[in-house]
Symmetry: C2
Subunit: 239 residues, 2 copies
């Protein structure tokens, strides 16, 4: 009667048993998809939202010239696809980076859920606002930081989010990303990413494997990147 999504909502707005149950009911149809598979292609808008329950996915957009910009990573508990519900269409796609399980919730059910349970509505709103904060951080990262810092920062954030539920935070973390993925997320070229990773390896922050990157020293990387998770982690519930 609990999944990553429920835990996420509960972390921003304490939910009652009834509320948790209502969410569980609405998200009970779990689908699975293999690594590197599409979850949602641009244009396929069926009016609902996707919720990642396990694995790592990314949302991206293809620009006019064919280049790809990854705009966010989705970790378990993340919700995606509601901009269509909001009436806009941002033309992105959604793909699994590692094997993922996810659920789909249609517009109608979500509306009912929010109308019946104000705390759920508030929690969803809070999640959207936190997402906004993350996007602002990405914007500043891509816009202003030089390549090495930029990559370090992005990996720090991803580690932070992937490990958010573990305490104490493990010192290592495997990121199922190719160098091309990293390039598309940081807006650098794959060639340059390769060189940047070389430097981060020299500093002993990461080690490289084919199709994945192991962060060996999360503390070191985060401090090098001057990363702080304040914009992600909600305050503890008021006492």
């Amino acid at each position: 009667m609990s999944n990553a999504f429920i835990r996420r909502l509960d972390s921003v707005e304490r939910l009652t048993k009834v509320e948790r149950q209502a969410i569980a009911e609405a998200t009970k149809n779990v689908q699975k998809v293999g690594a590197r598979r599409a979850i949602l292609r641009e244009g396929d808008r069926n009016g609902g939202a996707h919720i990642i329950l396990s694995g790592l996915a990314c949302r991206y957009r293809i620009l006019e010239d064919g280049s790809r910009q990854i705009t966010d990573f989705l970790v378990p508990g993340d919700l995606c696809g509601c901009d269509y519900i909001a009436g806009a269409d941002t033309g992105y796609s959604l793909a699994a980076l590692s094997p993922c399980s996810f659920t789909h919730i249609d517009h109608q059910s979500l509306t009912v859920l929010m109308d019946r349970h104000p705390r759920i509505a508030r929690a969803l709103w809070s999640l959207a606002l936190i997402n906004e904060g993350v996007l602002r951080e990405w914007l500043a990262n891509v816009g202003r930081r030089p390549a090495v810092r930029r990559v370090a920062y992005l990996m720090s954030e991803l580690c932070f989010r992937l490990l958010a539920s573990e305490s104490p935070r493990p010192s290592s973390c495997a990121l199922p990303l190719t160098q091309i993925d990293l390039a598309d997320a940081t807006a650098l070229s794959p060639v340059h990413i390769n060189r940047v990773l070389g430097r981060l390896r020299e500093k002993r922050f990461v080690s490289l494997q084919r199709r994945s990157i192991i962060v060996k020293d999360t503390e070191g990387l985060m401090s090098f990147a001057e990363f702080s998770g304040n914009y992600i982690q909600p305050r503890a519930h008021d006492a």
Copy 2:
């Protein structure tokens, strides 16, 4: 009994008279501030949200090295500051670019408003999702587009939002931005912005004034930038 914020909410979720009145009541204390003044400084978190009612403002963040990244522009009807309510702290500031009027709504009132009026809650959620879409667009813009296109795109979006309520769209639009503002929004250097603007002036899209930029041909600029407002403008209400 109507202001830019009410109209904005109403455009994403049709509101009843009672709901509009409740919002009007909560946003009745209007403040004014001159051009180039701070509305909210980093660190001043009093736990509420600001709503821009007239004028143009921007939200920005100062990075470790002192550089500034503008992360969004706020046009009348826009809400800002709720990430703190969501429990996170993204450390930004808010400044007026032109003379602005705005109102402040505290955490408590907002919560009450959402709990009592599910449609308001949904509308706020929708606005947040649309904002997310805009931020993704900025990310792709800053990450992947070359300077001239990038600047053209940003100005297109800003014109689009400033003129959204006017129909037909006027062909010219004054943007109260210095070249430094533009640089901080597009993540380019002021010097380069100056050169880019020279080129856009040659193409007759804009004309330059001290401390402001006049877009003389909104259609031409938008088509040059390959801008489309689909990600901003909500669909018309279902029939």
